[in-house]
């Protein structure tokens, strides 16, 4: 097969790339390759699916006719295994060869598997939590074994979303986190505490500063795990959620430059002509650190996919660089965070924060040189986007920073000139 545009990966980066291509090029042939069977599903929704709140037919993030309408040839259940950047072709695991003019690599991330004694292929009851197929396998295992208890390894966002899904199914969950608190990369100690208390109130046990050392199996089935200190936790289900790393399988052995992820420039172009990368596998410009980093979140993947698509179709677009941001609802506590939420001491940061123990409302603003560098909002997320805008627009907050933690903080607190600039032509007259 011979196509103008070839996209490896069918999640948010790939889909946004195809859409952007079609804005400039209505005719050029597009093929998308996915090693998953599903036509289209939203990865962040797999926790909802596990919990039973979302049914399988509610998981797509584009309409059923998306691929046909955009003239995209979608190849599912096929893995791209070999890339030849000189001959401009990709070989699939079924032997098929696809020649391309422009290629996007959007292969996402791969769950990191911790070293645990006794963990080997074929052990039943041990799962990762990244794909719909993982949830299908977890559910099948739970139904077959009438699972009542589970151990989740990793107290980050993915581990907690898995926990929530399991709790909704009535499973007793024990969380094992290597750091001294849960959500160590997303939150500060106060926010982590707040969420930890919620989890405990929902019946979770949390083992911090700890790791799973050993599996105890009956035959090939996991029955319990042993922690660093020798403590034994029962549970016929183990979910490994300590993190993901960029999936570099396809680029290994090619001339494409990699660091932690696939290195890309501001056009999402890799070090090799005609090959682009976007999403969780790519290492692109980070607006806050000004370095290149892998920011494995949905909005970054969407934007990078879009920018890649435009450039692939010949329309020069520059990636402005985004920054880490997360919106997560954990056990009915809505939370939103941006950027650097837990800055190192003596590094020139100023922290504004207010916690209301009665309502559980927590707001924290991290400033550097009067610019917003990080934000945590818990149980009070209504105007969250304004803080994100202040980061993006590099707004000097010195004249209104005393108001930034208030319940009624909003657009009116911003200096006139700033507001005028921010709203530009969007229909607000000041």
């Amino acid at each position: 097969m011979n196509v103008k545009y070839l996209i490896i990966g069918n999640s948010v980066a790939g889909v946004n790339c195809a859409e952007a291509i079609r804005e400039s090029d209505g005719k050029g042939t597009i093929a998308m390759v996915s090693d998953e069977r599903e036509t289209n599903y939203s990865r962040p929704l797999i926790a909802r699916y596990l919990g039973g709140r979302f049914k399988r037919d509610q998981l797509s993030f584009r309409e059923p006719g998306f691929y046909e309408e955009n003239g995209v040839k979608l190849l599912t259940g096929k893995k791209a295994v070999k890339l030849d950047t000189v001959g401009r072709s990709v070989r699939l695991d079924d032997g098929a060869m696809i020649e391309y003019e422009k290629l996007l690599i959007a292969t996402g991330g791969t769950p990191i598997i911790p070293k645990i004694s006794g963990l080997r292929p074929g052990i039943k009851g041990v799962f990762t939590f990244a794909r719909l197929a993982d949830v299908d396998a977890i559910v099948a295992h739970m139904e077959r074994n009438k699972t009542k208890e589970a151990v989740v390894v990793g107290g980050g966002l993915i581990g907690l979303k898995a926990t929530e899904g399991l709790l909704e199914r009535g499973i007793k969950v024990r969380i094992v986190e290597m750091a001294e608190r849960i959500l160590p990369n997303t939150f500060d100690p106060a926010a982590s505490d707040l969420i930890e208390n919620r989890l405990k109130a929902a019946g979770c046990a949390i083992y911090k500063d700890n790791v799973v050392k050993k599996l105890v199996c009956s035959g090939d089935r996991v029955k319990s795990v042993v922690l660093k200190g020798g403590q034994r936790l029962p549970g016929g289900l183990l979910v490994l959620a300590i993190g993901v790393r960029p999936n570099l399988e396809l680029v290994n052995g090619t001339k494409i430059k990699t660091d932690r992820g696939i290195s890309v420039d501001r056009h999402m172009l890799t070090s090799v002509p005609n090959v682009y990368a976007a999403g969780d596998c790519a290492q692109g410009f980070d607006f806050l650190s000004l370095a290149d980093s892998v920011i494995a979140i949905w909005p970054v993947a969407a934007r990078q996919g879009k920018i890649a698509g435009h450039n692939m179709a010949g329309r020069a677009e520059i990636y402005p660089g985004l920054f880490a941001m997360n919106a997560v609802q954990i056990l009915d506590a809505p939370t939103i965070s941006f950027g650097t939420t837990n800055p190192p001491p003596d590094a020139g940061y100023t922290v504004l924060s207010r916690m209301d123990p009665e309502t559980g409302v927590y707001r924290k603003i991290v400033l550097k040189d009067n610019l917003v560098a990080g934000v945590i909002l818990i149980n009070a997320i209504e105007r969250a986007g304004i803080y994100g805008m202040l980061i993006r627009e590099k707004v000097d907050v010195s004249s209104f920073k005393s108001e930034m933690l208030d319940d009624d903080f909003g657009l009116l607190a911003l200096p006139r000139q700033v507001l005028k600039h921010v709203v530009k032509d969007e229909g607000i007259e000041m």
Partner: protein
């Protein structure tokens, strides 16, 4: 033959006149009466009757965010951005930009209440509606009802409707 734009059976007829329309907020005329909020809630209620909407039905969320700071006040709603960050961030496809009209539309049945749109909206005008199924709520320009309730009922013309060329549209 009925022209599509005049044919009530044709859903495009309802949408077509909205092409390029925008609500403009004139902060200097806003006196903070909050009547816009009352009528937004009423317009989006089951009965669309003001007393029922407030007294006997479960009171909804208004698509307007009201701010007050000293003598200044501002009632602001979704700006229907040309490059909406909320649409880009939406994990379900519930938030979409209608290419025909430029309207940013939200399908609450698809919404997962993940708050990605709340996180990305630069104006902070998408609200978490926490009553019932937790979903996002925002201004829909009252397309289904015909004319934006906040514009119609603003006593001081602080909220006005303009067409694509900036010309004022009155009810």
């Amino acid at each position: 033959m009925v022209k599509p734009a005049n044919n009530p059976q044709n859903p495009a007829a309802k949408v077509a006149p909205f092409k390029g329309r925008r609500i403009v907020i004139r902060e200097e005329y806003c006196m903070g009466c909050r009547v816009c909020e009352v009528h937004c809630i009423t317009q989006h209620s089951k009965s669309r009757k003001i007393i029922k909407a407030y007294k006997s039905e479960k009171r909804g969320v208004s698509g307007i965010v009201f701010e007050e700071r000293g003598p200044a006040s501002l009632a602001v709603q979704c700006r229907h951005c040309s490059e909406p960050l909320c649409v880009e961030a939406c994990i379900t496809g519930a938030m979409k930009r209608d290419k025909e009209t430029g309207r940013v539309i939200h399908d609450k049945d698809k919404c997962a209440g993940c708050w990605m749109c709340v996180m990305t909206c630069p104006y902070g005008v998408i609200k978490p509606d926490l009553a019932g199924k937790k979903v996002a709520f925002k201004c829909d320009l009252c397309v289904e009802q015909g004319f934006p309730a906040c514009v119609e009922h603003c006593p001081n013309e602080a909220i006005i409707l303009v067409d694509a060329s900036g010309t004022r549209i009155r009810r």
